[in-house]
Amino acid sequence: MSASAVVFYILSALILVSALLAVTSRKIFRSAIWLLFSLTGIAGLYFWLQMEFVAAVQIVVYVGGIVVLIIFSIFLTQQSGKDLPVPKRTRGLFSILAAVAGFILTAALLRGYAFPAPGQPAPTATINNIGAQLLSTKEHGYVLPFEVISILLLAAMIGCIVIAMKTKPETK
């Protein structure tokens, strides 16, 4: 086993163990921190796959944005220090059964499928190429989805403000 493969298995173990702790931990704050580790491990996996730009986006948006947002909302809504309730026995049991059965089915299908051997990876995923194709209006250009997603982000921003706005008490 080469060093690269060892790095991959260590990263996978980090991702899976911290994800498992994130969904089973009884303290919600610890759960958020385990989620942080898991997302960082996924960014490491992108680095390992030589997708540096996606790894950077993963770190900036997920680790720097979403997890911080989640931690803020934990502090706003939760008495930190209070334990989360243990799930009901039957529900926990059947959830484990469903997850394990689904995993085994999918893994068996994956093992049986013969993927073509990986081609020689050409360094196409440079930031130059990504930017040029993302904003290109020609064939295989992605400028329309790019604009649509900017509208979506604007709509989400306005929606958040409207939803979370405090209504004025009508006492006058």
Binding site: S2, A19, R91, F103, P121, T124
Partner: protein, 104 residues
């Protein structure tokens, strides 16, 4: 990178998906359910990147899909947290079992 077969990466992302699904089934707290959804979205992203890298290394479609999924996940998390804060204001709890006013 070529020493690890594609199947192993896909199995890791499958495991991540089902861990997220388990969390979605067992948790009754909205914030932890949101965390599970983030795990599921990330497992999909790993799949896109791995397929792009291993099967079509000269194309960039997987990268773009991943970037769009990340953007949509950010928007979704922001809206979800606005809803959670609003729910907490009305019910003083973010447990899904307490918000049953519109339950038929």
């Amino acid at each position: 990178m070529n020493q690890v077969p594609l199947t192993h990466i896909l199995i890791v992302s499958t495991a991540l998906f089902f861990i997220g699904m388990y969390g979605l089934f067992t948790r009754r707290n909205l914030i932890t359910m949101l965390m599970s959804i983030e795990l599921i979205l990330n497992s999909v992203n790993i799949n896109f990147i791995a397929f792009n890298r291993y099967l079509y290394p000269q194309r960039l479609e997987g990268v773009f899909f991943t970037l769009f999924v990340i953007a949509i996940a950010a928007a979704e998390a922001a809206v979800a947290i606005a809803i959670i804060i609003n729910l907490y204001r009305n019910f003083h709890s973010i447990d899904v079992e307490t918000a049953d006013e519109m339950k038929f």
